[in-house]
């Protein structure tokens, strides 16, 4: 009897299994923050809540918009609380459940939970004093209930805020593109001849980094967009993963973004320097700069820097990349603004 009434008073949050597309690998387990129906829904509400910024003007979604595969469409945003131009391009958020090799362009955060503290607290981003956020959320009875249900904890804690955000982000799975349906041999699913040629080109020339069904290896590479990394200003901002590892081989290395939904996530690179996918392909075919830390995968030109591509090959790759867009992802009501 006692056990029964106790259960009723604090319902155990309901465990949720990710709906993993059949062609995807098994996602890494996150035992410290298991997915629950209540945690995911709370995370969605927080993701879209402007209370999470210091002056209550922006939410996570302000720079991670569903219509752009949770990116923002600008090179370097200046809609943060300070209005200052940011130093990094807002990354798209998709298939984050597999992103277990560092977050941020230089991988300085080990998981989504830790990562969330940075944009929340950064003066030029959300500039949210964390104790103040806890108090703001405590003042909303609906949040008090939802936190208690999701984490079996009468208190709202900063750790629970970032756990909920991480849970929601791990549900953002994009795997319903035309390519996926073709890959899974679903009835009626086809790719055009040009798209198939693009797929083969990607497999032979790009898969070193854009690996597997996730189209990323979640690793860090110097892809030759710069060649002088002597500028150590802004705490090594221009030195890529070197600022985390202090390994000279990581100078100018940044995280491989996925090719999935890439036609929705322009501009490109860690600083958004390339406005179009054409500019990206032009870089790889004829703009790769040499430096000691240049990834050998960028030397596909008889040992010289560059990945030669003809114009028609570029067009085929672009045709394939379009077939990698998951349209249902950007209209999925489970990912949209609940407020």
């Amino acid at each position: 009897m006692q056990a029964c009434s106790k259960t009723e008073m604090s319902p155990v949050p309901q465990p949720v299994e990710l709906e993993v597309p059949a062609n995807f690998p098994v996602p890494p387990s996150m035992p410290d923050n298991p997915l629950t129906r209540e945690g995911i829904e709370l995370g969605r509400r927080l993701f879209y809540d402007k209370r999470l910024s210091g002056n209550n003007t922006i939410s996570c979604a302000s720079c991670h918009s569903q219509s752009l595969s949770f990116s923002d469409g600008v090179a370097l945003s200046q809609i943060g609380v300070s209005g200052s131009i940011l130093h990094r391009h807002a990354p798209a958020l998709l298939n984050m459940a597999w992103a277990n090799n560092g977050l941020f362009w230089d991988g300085g955060s080990t998981n989504l939970e830790s990562q969330a503290f940075a944009p929340l607290a950064n003066r030029d981003e959300m500039n949210q004093e964390l104790y103040e956020l806890v108090n703001e959320l405590k003042a909303v009875p609906d949040y008090v209930n939802r936190f208690r249900e999701a984490f079996n904890d009468p208190e709202i804690k900063t750790g629970s805020i970032v756990k909920a955000l991480a849970q929601f982000q791990r549900t953002l799975i994009a795997g319903q593109s035309r390519y996926d349906k073709f890959r899974r041999q679903e009835p009626g699913a086809t790719l055009t001849v040009q798209e198939r040629e693009g797929l083969q080109l990607v497999q032979s020339k790009c898969m070193g980094c854009h690996q597997g069904e996730l189209f990323t290896d979640n690793r860090y590479h110097n892809n030759g967009i710069d060649q002088d990394f002597s500028d150590a200003s802004l705490e090594g901002l221009f030195q890529g993963r070197f600022r985390i590892s202090y390994d000279p081989a990581d100078l100018g290395s940044f995280k491989t973004p996925t090719l999935r939904n890439v036609m929705l996530t322009a501009p490109y690179m860690h600083d958004g320097r390339f406005a179009t996918i054409n500019a990206v392909l032009d870089h790889y075919s004829s703009g790769v700069l040499s430096s000691p830390s240049l990834d050998p995968l960028m030397k596909q030109n008889g040992g010289m820097p560059g990945i030669p591509l003809s114009n028609s090959e570029k067009q085929s790759i672009i045709a394939f990349l379009k077939a990698l867009t998951d349209e249902s992802f950007i209209s999925n009501p489970r990912f949209s603004n609940p407020h």
Binding site: D32, G108, T110, E113, F117, A118, L130, Y131, E235, G236
Partner: protein, 258 residues
């Protein structure tokens, strides 16, 4: 026959309850770990000139995490203190979140461990810093771990992790003067100490027990030239490793256990 069994059971209940009553007079107790900061032979103090070797130091702050405390009983079995993450410190006000919040000036040398199993203990183990599980995941806020104590990485906006130890101040030699900030962090510098007590020590409710440890900053910076390297952090990997080793191997010693 049935009666005899009942009688035996009754007797057993009596016996066990009697035994329990005798145990109740002494039970689990409290143990204080007292980390006494020193600067060589003298006491550590902030904002005072302190001479170590040929140099004059003026310290502004000493802070470090003590974590995962394990008490070793005389029979060799161990008791791991749950949720044991403690911030030891002697510091002026600390600016957190780029000034949104100020952590108040504080001196904290004692850690009071409650509900320690009644037993005789011969050694104590603990780590300086934060283990990889918690260092890599700031949402796991065990014990005193917090993002808002100013002991997350100074660069945690892009490298989210804890500062393990931090010593700040100025150093002078002759006409040369430097402001220094000597920090340790990153998982490879998480170090565990195992220290034998001078004599076995009983912990129980009968009397409060205390282990006093010296934490000597002179030994922490032994072999490190803070005039040549006034900033020690992740980008000075080898000096930072030396500093972390010093904390683990020579700076902290048990002086009294009673």
């Amino acid at each position: 026959m049935k009666k005899i069994i009942y009688m035996a059971a009754f007797a057993a209940v009596l016996a066990s309850s009697c035994k329990k009553e005798t145990v109740i007079s002494e039970h689990d107790g409290e143990l204080t770990l007292s980390f006494d900061a020193k600067a060589g032979t003298g006491d550590f103090a902030l904002n005072q000139d302190i001479t170590i070797g040929t140099r004059t130091y003026n310290f502004k702050s000493l802070r470090y995490w003590v974590s995962n405390v394990v008490l070793v009983k005389s029979d060799g079995t161990e008791y791991a203190v749950p949720e044991s993450y403690y911030l030891l410190e002697e510091t002026g006000p600390v600016v957190v979140q780029e000034g949104d919040y100020t952590y108040p000036a504080k001196k904290r040398e004692d850690v009071v461990l409650k509900n320690i199993p009644m037993a005789e203990y011969k050694a104590v183990k603990f780590s300086i810093g934060v283990d990889a599980t918690h260092n890599d995941n700031l949402s796991l806020q065990a014990g005193e771990l917090s993002q808002l104590s100013g002991m997350t990485n100074v660069s945690w906006m892009w490298h989210t992790s804890y500062i393990f130890t931090s010593l700040q101040g100025t150093v002078k030699e002759g006409a040369t003067s430097k402001t220094f900030l000597a920090e340790t962090g990153v998982n490879t510098n998480y170090k565990t100490l195992s220290l034998n007590l001078p004599s076995a020590m009983r912990v129980s409710s009968a009397k409060s027990a205390k282990i006093t440890l010296d934490v000597d900053v002179a030994k922490a910076i032994d072999g490190i030239d803070l005039i040549a390297t006034p900033t020690i952090g992740a980008s000075q990997a080898s000096v930072m490793a030396t500093l972390a080793d010093n904390y683990a191997t020579k700076a902290i010693t048990v002086t009294i256990a009673k």
